[in-house]
């Protein structure tokens, strides 16, 4: 049995080792580092099934009052590790673009860091999903955010990337400030930073709820930034479009999932306040409408996926407003699979032609495999049954109907129909527009394997969702 925090420590050590190798072993092909990292992360992933149980949250002291290894956090540690592994596979495909954008006399300059930094992000995500104390939430969120600062602006000689990096830096720092300010308000009212004790303190009728609520709203601002909820979504399209594609994928899956886990955790003490629910319903409505309507006219696929990520934040917020943890979690899993699959195809196609939807014209002729993968990803994002994306929406709508959230259901149904339009736009380009180029696109074995695994997982979970539901119940 492995004590839970050793997993994060292992990941951190791995990151440092890779950085050292990058610095001192100059001769090796840097892609070996990526393969080594993937192997090591798979080992850690297997390790998550052999964790020793952690003490119960109620009587936890010392380290265990900051950190928990409950089923939810273990589930999301696996989620973070899997995302990182898939992103690293994408990064190997993306390596030529990174090399081309960093002029240097030495071979493969900068590639090592590109593979090493996600390891630290991964460690941050793993800490974050285990955090049950505002201080610990803050620290691990910073670990994630700071590593993303570097990753987003990694190909910094590209002006669009630089713009994305600056935007992300400034707005993210601002949201961090909101988070700290919110935490101080909550601490000022309750005298606690541990979520369990805050719940207990808020249950006391003598306590002033107004200031605590104000603090919570500030925390919501910060988390709204992380999960790309309206009105904190302004940064998303530009940053997603400008950042290196694998980083965009990482940002839209890893960062968002962690944000939702934290949101579910920090909202729990505040649920007895009805204002909170109304606020989240409002944010969910706005996010759904904005994300879906703004996605309609997009012609750049990366930007489209950025708006789609806002739209999916809206569906997830429906689940949060109904406080249905399993529904949100299942949706996040589906979202991970289909988003990473679409980005994996995008990385390869973008290097051949470009990132516009019209660059996908005739992809079905050039590479039937890539086109089919994209078809499955888009069908799942749109919510066609027998894909994981449909079950995600099904559980979310189920929760909303059970709670009689009529407004959310009505807007949700309308926006789903919008989604069909913009996702199928990509399908149309691939299958019935004439191709601009006629050469075949080759896909390396590792990517092909990863994409096939994603396709199988999407269809499998679309027919048989029980494994995820089981894992969540334990």
């Amino acid at each position: 049995m492995i004590p839970p925090p050793s997993l994060e420590i292992a990941v951190l050590v791995l990151g440092m080792v890779i950085l050292m190798l990058e610095a001192f072993a100059e001769r090796i092909d840097k892609r070996i580092l990526a393969f080594a990292t993937i192997g090591a992360l798979i080992a850690v992933l297997i390790g998550t099934w052999f964790l020793a149980p952690s003490p119960a949250q109620e009587q936890a002291t010392g380290f265990w009052s900051f950190y928990t290894a409950d089923p939810l956090s273990i589930f999301f540690k696996r989620f973070a590790l899997l995302t990182t592994i898939l992103v690293l596979i994408m990064m190997i495909d993306y390596a030529p673009v990174v090399l081309a954008s960093i002029p240097s006399t030495k071979k493969q300059t900068g590639l090592g860091e590109f593979f090493a930094i996600p390891i630290f992000t991964c460690a941050g995500l793993m800490y974050l999903v285990s955090a049950i104390d505002f201080i610990f939430i803050f620290v691990s969120l910073e670990l994630v955010t700071i590593s993303f600062y570097v990753l987003v602006s990694f190909t910094r000689h590209n002006p669009a990337t630089l713009e994305a990096g600056v935007k992300y830096l400034v707005l993210s720092a601002l949201s961090t400030a909101f988070l700290v300010y919110g935490i101080t308000w909550i601490f000022g009212v309750t005298g606690q930073t541990n979520l369990q004790r805050i719940t207990a303190a808020l249950a006391n009728p003598e306590i002033e709820r107004g200031p605590a609520l104000f603090g919570m709203v500030l925390v919501l601002v910060a988390l709204g930034f992380k999960i790309a909820a309206v009105p904190f979504q302004i940064w998303v399209p530009d940053v997603y479009q400008g950042a290196p594609t694998p980083v965009t994928a990482y940002l839209s899956v890893g960062s968002k999932a962690a944000g939702f886990v934290v949101l579910l955790r920090v909202l729990r003490p505040f649920l007895m306040l009805p204002q909170m629910e109304r606020l989240i319903v409002l944010i969910a409505l706005l996010t759904l409408l904005y994300g879906n309507l703004a996605a309609l006219p997009q012609s750049n696929l990366k930007r489209l996926l950025a708006y789609s990520s806002i739209a999916h934040a809206g569906y997830l917020l429906i689940g949060v407003a109904c406080f249905d943890g399993p529904a949100v979690t299942f949706y996040l899993v589906a979202y991970l699979l289909m988003t990473l699959l679409s980005f994996a195809v995008l990385v390869i196609v973008a290097q051949q032609t470009g990132e516009e939807i019209s660059d996908f014209d005739g992809l079905a002729k050039r590479s039937p495999f890539l086109a089919f993968a994209m078809l499955i990803a888009m069908a799942s994002l749109a919510g066609v049954p027998l894909t994981a994306g449909f079950f995600g929406k099904f559980f979310i709508f189920y929760a909303a109907i059970a709670q009689r959230q009529t407004a959310l259901v009505v807007v949700g149904v309308i926006t789903v129909a919008c989604g069909f339009y913009y996702y199928l736009k990509v399908v149309r380009a691939m299958y019935w527009q004439p191709a601009a180029k006629v050469d075949n696109i080759s896909v390396n074995v590792l990517s092909r394997l990863a994409m096939s695994a994603l396709i199988v997982a999407i269809v499998w979970l679309g027919i048989y969702p029980a494994p995820i539901l089981e894992a969540l119940r334990r």
Binding site: A364, L375, A379, A382, G383, V384, P385, L386, F390, F394, F397, Y398, I401, A402, V409, V413, I414, V416, A417, F420, Y421, L424, V427, R428, Y431, W432, I463, Y464, P465, A466, L469, R473
Partner: protein
């Protein structure tokens, strides 16, 4: 056996995508499912109630979600319709200029989705199987369509997606309307709950309205019909045959399967609304059909119009009308598939379907002319065809309803107005026949050597469709005996057919 019928088309579609010879595999798959279904039809033990050939696999015990398939009389004839039309559609498919394998795979996926939906005993898979056909339909119209295919493909896909999500909300509400202890996605369990009176009247009203709109969009009920003519005009002929003949009938099947047994109070409450909408289908769309200038658009509109009769049968809510509706679903599916198939053949030869550019084709294509004439007579509802038997049952059933007051009621008014629809359909069908097949061959077709009759092999699907129409027209009892028991439990108080 039923599992074979459900999965054979889907497996064949996957094989074809993986590179199996397209046409041979598709014909083999649709032929073997046809034979199996005929076998099931012949061996059907109608005197035993309930579902036959049931197989069930648990998907989620918490949600009482199973993959369950089974056949009763109603689903049996729906599956029979699906396999007959699939076989005919695959047979009618000629040479495909691009992505031949994908074309057959899409056809078989639509067919597999429809068969799966008809055979499902579980709400979730009932819904999911139907949606399985959505993307293939989009691709079929978009890639291989004609005319303004892109717009038509968007329109049908978004309409159907919206309709089916409304339907999904209705189904979830239905699931939640039952007390927690007996919640299940199993249709049989829901029927038991409905018999026990566990679905409250108010819940029924909400659910019925949602189901009516959701299914209504899928079936092109009057104000939600605009996707249908455009899509059928643009779709390649086999796709139009399958969609208009089979897949569209999913919504009607859903109303028969769910709304009638589970939501009788809801149905009664919304009868007036449904009457107005279905008269919109029969009269308004009927008149619009007369105004069409192209054969494919006219057929598309006529298929929308005939939905009105089926809705009338469903609304009548007695065993005669409902059995008539089921029979009409079957008969209309066969006749519209035949007409769309022949229209596709005409387009292939002449390059146009505009009435004013056609004429006299019966001289050069006598067999096609005969077949089209028979199809048109069937669609009009001439005695001897299954459509006649079905329409008679629908009208009698509807007229009978509420007659105890001895004065005209909304049902009687609707029936009388609906009867005029028969005249309307005679007008447009016969006019189309005259314009396309009678008269003189236009000057510009003289000397075209591709203007020949149907190849001999195409006589097979035509004979199949016409034969089925005639068989059930002369012996409707062989059909009613199988379907009616499926409804008898719900209308035990009513008269026997």
């Amino acid at each position: 056996m039923l599992l074979f019928i459900v999965f054979c088309p889907i497996v064949a579609a996957i094989l074809i995508m993986a590179g199996a010879p397209a046409r041979k595999t598709a014909l083999l798959a649709s032929g073997s499912t046809f034979v199996m279904t005929l076998l099931a039809f012949a061996l059907f033990e109608r005197w035993q109630g309930g579902f036959h050939h049931v197989s069930s696999f648990t998907i989620s015990a918490d949600w009482r979600l199973n993959f369950a398939v089974g056949l009763d009389g109603l689903s049996l004839i729906m599956v029979l319709l699906a396999v007959i039309v699939t076989l005919a559609a695959v047979w009618f498919t000629g040479e495909i200029d691009k992505y031949e394998n994908a074309f057959y795979a899409c056809l078989l996926l639509i067919s597999g989705g429809a068969i799966g939906a008809f055979a499902s005993l579980d709400l979730f898979f009932f819904y999911a199987f139907h949606e399985l056909a959505l993307i293939p339909t989009f691709l079929l119209i978009g890639i291989w369509g004609s005319g303004n295919r892109s717009a038509a493909a968007w329109k049908i896909t978004i309409y159907l997606a919206l309709g089916s999500f409304v339907l999904l909300i209705g189904l979830i509400l239905l699931y939640q309307s039952v007390p927690v202890a007996s919640r299940s996605f199993d249709i049989r369990a829901l029927q038991a709950a409905a018999v026990a009176g566990q679905i409250g009247p108010e819940a029924q009203r909400h659910i019925y309205l949602l189901l009516l709109i959701g299914f209504g969009v899928l079936v092109s009920l009057f104000p939600f019909h605009t996707w249908a003519p455009e899509a059928y005009a643009s779709a390649p002929a086999p796709a139009a045959m399958l969609h208009a003949g089979v897949l569209k009938k999913f919504g009607l099947y859903g109303l028969l399967r769910l709304a009638i047994p589970l939501l009788p109070d809801g149905a009664r409450h919304w009868t007036g609304l449904l009457m107005v909408l279905l008269l919109g289908n029969i009269i308004y769309i009927g008149l619009a059909t007369i105004g069409q200038k192209r054969l494919d658009w006219m057929l598309g509109y006529s298929s929308v119009m005939h939905m009105g009769y089926i809705f009338l049968g469903i609304a009548s809510a007695n065993i005669l009308g409902v059995t008539g509706a089921a029979t009409l679903i079957f008969a209309h599916g066969l006749s519209i598939a035949l007409l769309f198939g022949l229209a596709g053949e005409i387009r292939k030869r002449t390059g146009t379907l505009v009435f004013d550019e056609l004429g006299g084709l019966a001289k050069v294509m006598p067999f096609a002319g005969l077949a089209f004439g028979l199809g048109a007579f069937a669609a009009v509802g001439l005695p001897g065809f299954a459509n006649f038997a079905a329409e008679v049952m629908v009208f009698f059933g509807a007229f009978q309803n509420g007659w105890e007051m001895e004065r005209f009621h909304i049902f009687q008014i609707a029936t009388v107005l609906g009867l005029w629809g028969v005249v309307i359909s005679a007008v447009y069908m016969l006019r189309a026949y005259r314009k396309v097949f009678m008269g003189t061959l236009p000057e510009r077709f003289r000397g075209w050597n591709n203007l020949v009759d149907l190849r001999l092999s195409l006589h097979v699907p035509v004979t199949l469709l016409v034969g089925a129409l005639l068989w059930f027209g002369f012996f409707p009892q062989s059909f009613v005996r199988i379907v009616a028991p499926a409804f008898r439990t719900y209308f035990s108080a009513n008269a026997q057919p």
